[in-house]
């Protein structure tokens, strides 16, 4: 109980202190302490067996309703201010739907709120008090682990990152504070059981995206922020539609109650929620908002658009998995997710901005996680969870390293990063390590993918359509290998080691978070291997140990003479040639349309079955 409250409140309190302290040292200490406290709390909570539930007092519910209306009005205002018809229309649709639901929901009387937020005559019918607004179960505890450990590390990193940002000190403090508050929102959303609370928090994450993408306040930032806003608003609209069906058909806004019902439109309601997951997970055709989000400062990309916020997508599918598992809706989500895995990996090959490449690979892997979660067997659910954890660690590491290259070496594009290893060996080491942790044994993400092949293959006889998932897994993984090591080709390429080193040291404020993430990646992978209880899996760890030990075994290579690379008599200067693969315009359009149709068909399948 206290522990859960710590997770909800500590980040908010810490952010208040942080905003009040202009001293960088204090900021380091504060964020370090928050990281330690949150990790310990999340970890001990994870190890406690019981499921915790909380009922919201009426005033709190009223507050959520009021805050939600304010939030939607704010979106409306932003849409008007920056002249974006899409934002305006979606905000109005959301407002109408929201008020209608509040009006229709048993006992709720939102009119009161509109009347001026004065008369709180909130009544609750028994059906909505049956189950609690907040339910902390196994899945929530697992999500706490990801959010607080990875999120905490990113906050610590952002202190150093913001030092060099050319804005006023107050804005820097507000930025870090906002990241901390965001942690609270994330901690709440993964245990929200009431759909209306979930909707509110979902909109809060949309707001966080919007505000933080627009942080640099230039033209592209603003445009991309608005894009992120309207796309995520679609997610909000489908959640509201799902809630509307739940209220009308089953007189409940509680997810667990809804999931126990059968018949009627229950599957449509669930399917609509799953569609919100596809939007939040930036599945194609919605990947545009996540790609645009890369103009934001790097901690934002790491925190919101890779390690934590977008994890709402697989989380939501995991939450719904018991219901959609063996239905057509689940099948559709699996197919969409796995196709997104391949398509996004392929599209990434055409990009040259490092963060965009990482963004696309995030879209791809989120698709894979959703695909596995939607299959709904116990094994595939476990695999999706493992992928989520390891993806968060590896991607946070990669994004933070990208931030270092951007800050220290002013390189954003992989074309500018050629030969970076001689200028920044440690950072490049972290990046290569990150790539390896995403593709090679014995790291968690690789293991997850490998077990997924085996696990889905074992279901093929009963559900032949899953062949699409197996194929996508295999092809998509190969494409990701091509993608990552293509980038590696630009970073590596160092001269003979007789030349003096030109390396710039890695600042400690960047180094510590990176080392933490790297250690966690290795440690968790080790734990994951141990969990398998199969001795044979451990052999996959041997090669890595060998590679690490090799320089120690060989000790000194001074006995060998050095030479310069051979140029076959040609005099032209060296340039590592990067290859790009781009689908034709026609093909791209066809792809977007077909993904759009697949997206809508989720709802159709939900309505039909």
């Amino acid at each position: 109980m206290e522990m859960v409250l710590t997770l909800f409140l500590l980040p908010v309190v810490a952010s208040l202190f942080l905003v009040l302290s202009p001293n960088v040292r204090v900021q380091y200490v504060l964020s370090g302490a928050v990281l330690a406290l949150l990790s310990i709390t999340a970890f001990s909570l994870y190890n406690s067996p019981n499921i915790l539930t909380f009922h919201f007092p009426q005033t709190l519910n009223t507050f959520v309703v009021a805050a939600d209306i304010v939030l939607l009005l704010f979106f409306l205002y932003q849409g008007k201010k920056y002249d974006s018809p899409k934002v305006i229309i979606l905000a109005i649709v959301q407002l109408v739907l929201f008020l209608y639901i509040e009006h229709a929901s048993p006992g709720h009387s939102a009119q009161v709120v509109i009347d001026g937020l004065t008369k709180f005559t909130m009544e609750y019918s028994p059906s909505s008090t049956n189950s609690a607004e907040i339910v902390v179960d196994e899945l929530s505890k697992f999500m706490f682990l990801i959010i607080n450990i990875v999120g905490g590390i990113i906050v610590l990193y952002s202190v150093r990152y913001m030092e060099d940002e050319p804005v006023s000190p107050l804005k820097k403090q507000l930025f870090i504070g906002a990241l901390l508050v965001f942690l609270s929102v994330m901690n709440l959303i993964v245990c929200a059981n009431s759909l209306m609370l979930f909707f509110f928090l979902f909109e809060m994450t949309t707001l966080a995206s919007y505000v933080l993408i627009a942080f640099r306040n230039d033209e592209t930032s603003r445009a991309n922020a608005l894009k992120a806003l309207w796309m995520n608003q679609i997610g909000g609209v489908v959640i509201l539609l799902g809630a509307l069906i739940a209220i009308k058909g089953f007189e409940t806004v509680m997810l667990d109650t809804l999931m126990q019902r059968s018949g009627g439109w229950v599957l449509l309601s669930i399917a609509l929620l799953a569609m919100a997951a596809l939007v939040k997970g930036a599945s194609i055709p919605f990947e545009g908002w996540l790609l645009g989000a890369m103009v934001a400062p790097t901690p934002v990309s790491a925190m919101l658009h890779s390690a934590t916020m977008v994890k709402i997508a697989p989380y939501l599918i995991l939450r719904l998995a018991p219901v959609i598992g063996s239905t057509a809706v689940g099948g559709m989500i699996s197919i969409i997710g796995s196709l997104v895995f391949v398509a996004a990996s392929y599209l990434a090959l055409s990009r040259s901005v490092f963060k965009e490449i990482l963004g696309y690979s995030t879209v791809a892997l989120l698709g894979l996680m959703m695909a596995l979660a939607a299959i709904g067997t116990k094994e595939s659910i476990m695999l999706a969870m493992a992928l989520m954890l390891f993806h968060a660690l590896s991607k946070a590491l990669l994004f933070l390293s990208a931030g270092v290259l951007e800050r220290v070496h002013h390189a954003k594009n992989i074309e500018e990063m050629k030969g970076m290893v001689s200028r920044s060996p440690k950072t490049v080491g972290f990046i290569i390590f990150g790539f390896m942790s995403l593709t090679l044994p014995p790291f968690g993400l690789f293991m997850g993918k490998m077990f997924a092949i085996a696990s889905v293959a074992s279901l093929l006889h009963e559900r032949p359509l899953l062949l699409i998932v197996v194929l996508s897994l295999i092809v998509g993984s190969a494409l990701l290998v091509l993608l990552y090591f293509k980038v590696a080709s630009a970073l590596l390429a160092s001269s003979s080691d007789v030349l003096p080193s030109q390396a710039t040291p890695l600042p400690l404020g960047f180094g510590i978070p990176l080392w933490l993430l790297a250690f966690l990646t290795v440690g968790m992978a080790g734990g994951y291997i141990m969990m398998q209880q199969k001795m044979s899996v451990m052999v996959l760890a041997l090669p890595l140990i060998f590679v690490i030990l090799l320089p120690v075994i060989v000790r000194s290579m001074n006995g060998y003479d050095r030479s310069q690379p051979y140029h076959c008599g040609e005099k032209e200067s060296f340039d590592s040639a990067l290859v790009y693969y781009k689908p034709s315009h026609y093909m791209q359009q066809a792809m977007y349309w077909s993904f759009g149709i697949l997206f809508i068909s989720v709802a159709i399948f939900g309505a039909l079955s």
Binding site: L440, L460, I474, L482, V547, P551, R562, A577
Partner: protein
Amino acid sequence: MIWVWIAFAPILGGLAYGGERVLRARMQRRQGPPLLQPFYDMFKLLDKRTLIVHSPHALLAVAHFFILWFSIVAIFMGWNLLYIIFLHLFAQILLILAGYSVRSVYSHIGANRELLMLIAYEPILLLVAVGFYLESGSFEISEILQKGGYLTSMPLLFAALAMVIPIKVKKSPFDVGEAHQEIVGGVEIEYSGIFYEFLYMSRFLEYIFIYSFVFLFGGVSSWVGTVLVAGTFLAVNLVDNATARVKTADMLKIIYSIAMMLCIVNIAGIL
């Protein structure tokens, strides 16, 4: 006994490599080198002065060789087919990283090609593994070899595998990774002496690696397996003599359109 096979795996592969050179020479009505030529080359390499560009580059070749050997160990011990494919992937990635780690145009182009080759054959190998799993109910080689009749139930998967063998043993039409007239040895270019020898021996191990997959199609009957390996060996060399090299991009297109289709049709047929 099995450990003896494992220990001598590079020598076995070396014999296959030497035998292949003899076979190809005979197909072209040449005398060709002696069977033991690969080993003579090895001893010659040991005498050469070793020059390296930088130590990580040299060490990655050593790691590449040993991990490749480790994947051969896994094959002989009858372990999980997926582990074997991914151990091989790991070894290959180390070689590619080595190729990228020097400022040499040829090494970089070579590594690029190795990477493209990797993503061409790896999905096919995995799909073959999935096919074996669907037929035998296990990814473990020891259990796959308990059953038989794979050739009749997955002929198209066998055809797909046969299509990727030339990539792995660097034979026409898919010998882009070697292509010595174009890229002067590719990833191998900056190696010399003892470190080149490790790469040279890795090539022997690649033979064992890829032909083991062919052998698996024989299932419980090692006779069928041996005949399949011999037949494929002959066919690959025949094709090598009869075709010209295709471009890397075309290789990818051919594998992803034809071989992949064959796999999908076959697996869908099994289901």
